[in-house]
């Protein structure tokens, strides 16, 4: 497709606190169905809460973390939570659990944890970087 663009999405608002993850997901679905490519999703600041495997909303509410995880898996899109944001907010994988001797880990697959370098690389390589903030 000649007009296809490659996007990096950055989400900084937490689910069930802000609209940011929902808006980003709706954008991502629309972009993919229009033939565009999502190169990477980067969670920053409060946005890292989206990657928690412990979110358990009431059954009649949309499970945004699950919906995002399903979308990412279905389309093979890599998603990264910023390590500094994640550690401050209690989001860790097995490696960080071991490193900081924490009692548990809670990173939802297929999300990964890495540094801001992933955001820099994504912004450099793609056509557009779009930010989804919570507003303040």
């Amino acid at each position: 497709m000649p007009n296809s663009l490659a996007y990096t999405l950055v989400i900084t608002g937490a689910p069930w606190t802000t609209q940011a993850p929902q808006t980003a997901l709706l954008f991502a679905r629309a972009a993919v169905s229009a033939g565009h490519k999502i190169d990477r999703v980067f969670l920053y600041g409060d946005g890292v809460h989206l990657a928690s495997s412990l979110n358990a909303p009431p059954s009649d509410e949309t499970h945004w973390s699950q919906q995002w995880a399903d979308f990412l898996t279905q389309h093979g899109i890599p998603a990264t939570a910023c390590i500094a944001s994640a550690l401050r907010r209690g989001l860790v994988n097995e490696t960080e659990q071991a490193r900081y001797e924490l009692p548990a880990n809670n990173l939802r697959a297929p999300f990964e944890i890495a540094g801001l370098g992933e955001w820099v690389e994504g912004s450099k390589a793609g056509d557009r970087t779009i930010y989804f903030h919570g507003g303040s």
Partner: protein
């Protein structure tokens, strides 16, 4: 790629500004041109003599003073916001550029990132 990181919130009230600062430092660490614009209440980041010890937070002033050392190309303050918040060259960190044409500044960068 040239990136302008925009901080429009006062320091110490939330973490978003601090995390925006980390983004700027990260760009510089990966040799990507980065500048920072302070506007609205965000110009208070540039105030001299900040004393955040009693808040239990690290000094934003100290972070910003180190910015040129880490390769951040410019710290830019919105001149109108400085007037509004009573910031002058005497009360501001040294080395800050003033801008009265924000539109031109935004247009001059390929990427613009707002802190929140």
């Amino acid at each position: 790629m040239t990136t302008l990181i925009v901080i429009d919130q006062a320091p110490y009230g939330s973490w978003s500004g601090r995390e925006a600062l980390d983004m700027a430092f990260s760009l510089a660490a990966f040799d990507q041109p980065a500048a920072m614009l302070f506007t609205g209440p965000g110009v208070n980041w540039l105030r001299k003599g900040q004393q955040p010890d009693e808040l239990g937070q690290k000094s934003a002033e100290k972070n910003l003073s180190a910015a040129p050392l880490f390769g951040i190309e410019a710290l830019i303050a919105d001149e109108r916001a400085c007037q509004q918040y009573g910031l002058s060259s005497e009360t501001m960190l040294s080395g800050v550029e003033l801008s009265s044409n924000i539109q031109e500044l935004l247009n001059g960068h390929t990427h613009v990132v707002f802190a929140s």
